[in-house]
Amino acid sequence: MAVVETRNLTKVFKEGELGAVNNVSLATHEGEFLVFLGPSGSGKTTLLRMIAGLETPTSGEILIGGQVVNQRSPRERRIAMVFQSYALYPHLTVYQNICFPLKAQKVPKNQHRQKVEWAAGLLSIGKLLDRKPRELSGGERQRVALARAIVREPAVFLLDEPLSNLDAKLRASAREELEQFHKNIGTTTIYVTHDQVEAMAMGDRVVVLHQGVVRQIGTPKEVYEDPADTFVATFLGSPPMNLLEFSDIIVGFRPEGFLPADLVAGNKQVTFRYRVKYVEYLGAERVLYGSIEDGHFESKEIISRLSWTMPTGYDAGSVHDFAVAESDLRFFDRKTEKRADPRPYPWQ
């Protein structure tokens, strides 16, 4: 077990161009499940590959277990990585795949079988040991990749979008298994994903990345409820946070907090006249798309998310009083797009 830390880590692929990773400083906690979340091209995979030792940083330091490992090869870093494509060795059986790291690291031969069976047992793939990867389903391949990663008991686990090749149904159960797996072994884990649901569900903390820059590090609750800037505010949450721009300030509120006025709890609330343009029926909830009728924001689409327990009747074309509790309002500086302190409402 070990803590991973990066200090001002930067990777520039082409000189003169914007870096893929810029000045990233972060540290995991012991045994933590840390998620790198960001859209494609945000540098999350590059960051992970630098930690793994597959890319050389342009500048900055990587520390694992308190020691600078920049000059160390992947094998010396005692990390294990699961790739998006799993990267199983197609010509080897499952047993040989799991055994490969043991052979490569010259673990005494008489321990091989016992260790492979332990890893296979942990992921309940004991019956597949004689198969070749092409004879396995997507979920089974993922388990083999995990077993191969865990067999030599690494200090750190790196997972690069390991669920993205699974179909939606399998993904949910695989996610659950992964969480369980992490709880069992308790190894520090860094998990890369572009899927916010995965990030929120699995992460002890989430690192939100955009254009190679860390936008926010925090627990899922923190990044969702207290986004550090407008990027985090709109990237997390589906549908994203509503943002209203004023002269020097941006005011944001979540669609699920923007509700019919009489349903908003608390007496401190801000009310808008809301014209519904169309409705998406999603079963458990309804998503209303519309605009605020006050002259300023007619063209700005504002979204409201109503749970299925709420009254119906908010049909396309109708106009209603909708409101947000004051405590659900978030303020951002218009220029820097960073979080700002609450202030008197600009529309009053």
Binding site: L54, R75, F83, S85, A87, Y89, F100, P101, A104
Partner: protein, 304 residues
């Protein structure tokens, strides 16, 4: 509607036996006329006493085969063909694997290097080989000149590259390798670049060093494509006579005589069509075996 109509039409065409046969016939004609007929003719001649310039033709049974098997030239040619094929293929596989792995990594001027490596394959065989004839010449050889200049040989006792039996065989093998390596390299380059980038990376993370990754992961994964390159190489080598014909013409003392060249010199230059045909038939079992393995490899490649 247009799409639907054309679909129906094409389905109709595929089901029409006449059109199907018509479309297929050029391929059948080509195989029958240019491969089947000469092959049948070779078998026919091998059991006759056909000679160039003679209008007479008699059935002689296995007489041709009997006399060939007793000829020391033929035995030497079989042995040489095997040495020539196995020797050059071993060198080709090793060199082409190294080259393909080296050419995979990006570096400055890689395009130029790839082009230069391919050049021996695209250049006409005869011209290239004539160039080698000069390079290996007993008097004007640049190789000898360099060796003398380096004081490795005295100017009065230089190696006769094409004049001494073992050296001649080695020279012929080397020149053939020079010609075959590009082809094998291109095939293997396709094979090695088909390996997903993550797999060697995973091996690196798993703690395998360069050679461990190479011999345990990369080369085993390239094996099917290496098989293809070797099988093609065997065919191109076992049936090739250009290099030997131009460099040594089978000499000295039959030390580089190979089966195809012997068939050519006996049947065409020596006017003994029947014996030439019989010699060339000895190529068939080897080629049938190679063809069988080739089809199996192709089939396996499909399954994977």
């Amino acid at each position: 509607m247009a799409i639907a109509a054309s679909k129906v039409k094409s389905a109709g065409a595929a089901q029409s036996p006449v059109l199907g046969a018509a479309m297929f016939s050029p391929a059948v004609l080509y195989i029958l006329l240019l491969i089947g007929a000469p092959f049948a003719l070779a078998i026919f001649y091998a059991f006759s006493d056909a000679r160039i310039g003679s209008t007479q033709l008699h059935y002689v049974g296995l007489e041709n085969f009997r006399s060939i098997l007793q000829s020391p030239s033929f035995r030497q040619a079989v042995q040489n063909s095997i040495v020539f094929t196995v020797g050059s293929q071993l060198i080709v596989v090793v060199c082409a694997t190294i080259l393909s792995l080296a050419l995979e990594a990006p570096f400055r001027g890689r395009g130029l290097v790839r082009f230069l490596i391919l050049l021996p394959w695209v250049a006409p065989v005869s011209l290239g080989t004539i160039g080698w004839k000069w390079i290996l010449d007993s008097i004007y050889s640049v190789i000898t000149w360099v060796l003398v200049w380096l004081h490795l040989f005295s100017p009065y006792d230089t190696p006769m590259w094409l004049g001494e039996p073992h050296l001649a065989m080695a020279s012929v093998i080397c020149v053939h390798c020079w010609r075959m390596i590009p082809f094998a390299t291109v095939i293997m380059l396709a094979g090695s670049s088909a390996i997903p980038k993550e797999i060697p990376e995973a091996a690196e993370i798993d703690g395998a060093g360069y050679f461990s990754t190479l011999f345990r992961i990369k080369i085993p994964m390239m094996l099917p494509i290496i098989n293809v390159a070797v099988l093609f190489g065997i065919i191109f080598t076992f049936t090739d006579m250009t290099v030997v014909y131009i460099l040594t013409d089978g000499g000295p003392f039959d030390s580089t005589q190979t089966l195809p060249l012997l068939a050519f010199t006996t049947g065409i230059q020596g006017s003994d069509l029947a014996a030439g045909a019989a010699i060339s038939l000895f190529l068939v079992p080897v080629l049938v075996a190679v063809a069988y393995f080739m089809l199996r490899v192709a089939h396996r490649a499909e399954v994977v």
